[in-house]
Symmetry: C2
Subunit: 129 residues, 2 copies
DNA sequence: TTCGCAAATGCAACAAATCGCGTTATAATT
DNA sequence: AATTATAACGCGATTTGTTGCATTTGCGAA
């Protein structure tokens, strides 16, 4: 396996902050270090990192997927499909289920940022949608 | 509120099968009924249906999001981020958690197709990734 | 029925993401 | 060190998804 400098730079970037980036943000950040890097190279690098289980993908309902380093701390969200309000669910609420699934399936779960979609209490009350 | 014929056709389409479609598949299907329909109209129609809580979105790791009618039956998946194998998780495994979260948050959960990513037992054993 | 508002649509420009292919470069082997 | 296989890359073409704006159309009010 060849070593990819782009892989390393992305992993560094994602490791710096306990937060997630869109592919666009990652692309822009990489360009500050490797100005000539091609967009497709960044996408392919992200694919590799995901395939290796080092990076997780989440859809937080903003239209763009976000990437974050696995092990950067679990945090889960409830997202309202109508007003796009985001609520955080305590990790304790979810972790027992993940552990149970891991034991039963022998999968190693990478998802560290579970997103559940729904309609928030306020929007349920709006007569029409 | 004006009625959108495209909204109705999409809902019909999604209701016909207990299955999910990509936006591309939906677009192609719609064209068989409304040959002149514009791509952006389909996307905007999907946005409306999602916003109304009638349609759910899932990312099954294929690159494209899939849409399905809410109420078409729950089914959840474990997806291997390395070999893309997909395993189905019994709904019973997940439903209690959803009920608990609904009670505590008063959100109405729309997600009817939960996808958890991980590394499957086989891929965990591959020396390098 | 007509009028007028607001929602839905089409269109065209744009942006984001993917793909095929030829090239470059790393790392293992000799 | 030279050779070779193959992973990573850049580039251009294509596909997919988004946005602004002008137009059309359905629906309620007059």
């Amino acid at each position: 396996m060849k070593t990819s400098s782009v892989d390393q730079i992305i992993a560094d970037l994602l490791g710096q902050k306990q937060y997630h980036y869109t592919s666009q943000q990652i692309f822009e950040q990489i360009r500050t270090r490797l100005p000539a890097v091609n967009r497709s190279t960044v996408y392919r690098s992200l694919d590799r990192l995901v395939s290796q289980g080092k990076v997780s993908i989440s859809d937080i309902g903003t239209g763009s997927l976000v990437y974050e380093l696995v092990g950067n701390g679990m945090h889960h969200h409830l997202v309202c499909q109508h007003c796009h309000q985001i609520i955080t669910i305590p990790a304790d609420e979810i972790n027992p289920l993940f552990s149970k699934i891991e034991q039963e399936s022998h999968f190693q779960i990478i998802t560290n940022h579970l997103i559940l979609y729904g309609i928030c209490p306020g929007c349920q009350n709006k007569k029409e949608l």
